[in-house]
Symmetry: D2
Amino acid sequence: MLISTTKRRVIYGETDKMGFLYYGNYPAYYEVGRTEALRELGTSYKHLEDTGIQMPVRNLQVEYLAPARYDEMLTIRTIIREMPGVRMHFEYEVENEAGFLLNRGSTDLVFTRVADNRPVRPPQWFLKLFLPYFGE
Amino acid sequence: MLISTTKRRVIYGETDKMGFLYYGNYPAYYEVGRTEALRELGTSYKHLEDTGIQMPVRNLQVEYLAPARYDEMLTIRTIIREMPGVRMHFEYEVENEAGFLLNRGSTDLVFTRVADNRPVRPPQWFLKLFLPYFGE
Amino acid sequence: MLISTTKRRVIYGETDKMGFLYYGNYPAYYEVGRTEALRELGTSYKHLEDTGIQMPVRNLQVEYLAPARYDEMLTIRTIIREMPGVRMHFEYEVENEAGFLLNRGSTDLVFTRVADNRPVRPPQWFLKLFLPYFGE
Amino acid sequence: MLISTTKRRVIYGETDKMGFLYYGNYPAYYEVGRTEALRELGTSYKHLEDTGIQMPVRNLQVEYLAPARYDEMLTIRTIIREMPGVRMHFEYEVENEAGFLLNRGSTDLVFTRVADNRPVRPPQWFLKLFLPYFGE
């Protein structure tokens, strides 16, 4: 299992007239979470795209437990529970500064070629980065 | 069952470097869908808030079947399958101009008081609007 | 002079905790305004990009006169005062349903090749569309 | 003069199909810049609002010099050249990791009461924070 943690502060433009982080902004927070998880592994999503492979999202689930408020520094915890295969599954937990869990969710992404959007297997160099976390 | 249909065009600012509608923008399309569904019923979400009741989202599911592209006029079909209770369930289908299904999803919303964010039952006048669609 | 008018409703996700349309969302409204102005002329910005030419924005000015509120149907008036040259200047006025002017601004865009981002002159077929509005 | 520097990384959702940071996303970067400038002064915009005063934007100017790209860590430099009065003027410069200036702009904000949106003078405690930078 791999757990990566990053922080992001709620800006004014992300709040809505309820005064809370708009429900539609969590996918961007999840994007930040999984991007920083890949960076922690020693690569980057940008690098993956530069090699001709992209990872479109196939599904998204979000559970809203409590509202996030303006100017709160949120902690995004990204959890990878298994080796990437044809799909790659990410789970996310978003906490406020008091350590209170506000939101959790998950996404499944696939690997496709930038050139023609066709599905491909994840490259070997990419899979190798995960071996220390998942054994053989 | 109640089905409401509305349209929305993909703008440049909603696309991402893949050239497609960014995955995180669908919740806004769903918001447009359910807002117009309520307007078709003869009320509006704004009016509901003006009476002191708001509807925060409790969960969201999105399935990405095919990408939506820049400048496409998307059709958002919003489906309400049952009378609102403590929760209100909305389903969404997003199609392109060729009638091809690109995306589907759902949300559950609850009713809370604007004054203190506490859960409440949906008001009687609101429920009455749904009676023609769901019988007694 | 060419004046094009289009409408767009303020959604919840575009408001901020002041309850108003967030100041950073007006550029998207301006994008909608100029895109629909080109469509009214008989072409589209998408078509221009398909021919290999794009129009990045070089500067933006926005004047905020009064707030736009949730669920208001805004009118975006886009004004083109002169033939496109190396630069193309657009002016914008945003009104609420009562015809009250809430916001005005302008942008300058240039023409560049999609292939290499280098500046080019606007194509002849594009310029011809403007002739009826600006004479010889 | 007061100069405050903060960083923000361009996420996928902020890029557009040109592959660059969408022109309409710079105002959010400016918001981050001026918010962190106030925090550096020892207060926060959130605290100001908690005391009943908000700062709506009255005008915005943006000059786009070169595109910002996906995953670049941008530096936002916020410059305050004079004591806040009825208006408060902020200037912004956005650089990429190579120190290349990509974008610059400015905003004027005013002070209003949260309760009724009426203009007020900036509070004394707020002005005092600026004295070390602007002398008597």
